[in-house]
Symmetry: C2
Subunit: 121 residues, 2 copies
Amino acid sequence: MTSNTSPGAVDPAVREELARLRDSIDNIDAAVVHMLAERFKCTQQVGHLKARHQLPPADPAREARQIARLRTLAENAKLDPAFAEKFLNFIIAEVIRHHERIADDKTNGAAPAADASGPGE
Amino acid sequence: MTSNTSPGAVDPAVREELARLRDSIDNIDAAVVHMLAERFKCTQQVGHLKARHQLPPADPAREARQIARLRTLAENAKLDPAFAEKFLNFIIAEVIRHHERIADDKTNGAAPAADASGPGE
């Protein structure tokens, strides 16, 4: 596909191809947002479970396994493994933020703490 | 479910529930890693398309639409919209890193630049 229009204008075929790719990106982003919503529901349940049964909040062995596994999955999917690890750390930071908010709620007399889950889970 | 074991030990039912939740988290993480691998394939194609047809790399209107859309999707999925926006920015940072690497490759006489896609696309 080559551009055969005047400068400034965009070949309709190119415009169409760009729209097609952007539609895929939008679909993927929607899927990921929904997956992450489910993930946070899971980590919240883990938090409540651990708080209820006095389990230690952090589990470094579990976290190390998660990182190693995600790096391998990323490699197989031709995604930079370092990015997969950064991604997990990004999510962990958000889980910690959730737990801090829940801990604050607890201090203010709200629902029981769910801040006992390991950050990544 | 209550803990009825001695201190230090963990009720097998609790251990099982924790394992069940962690399995879900692992499944979700695997799904997201694969979705992100697909996303980067799309942004790379966009980059090549834009470079080939002299389209401007950035499209602020497109990015604004992406942010607004993701925030709405997040709200509907009961995910913090601010987190959804942070997530998009996190991905954008990685896309920029990809483009910089491709630009470096180009400087060193490698493949044609794919650094013309808008960072988020």
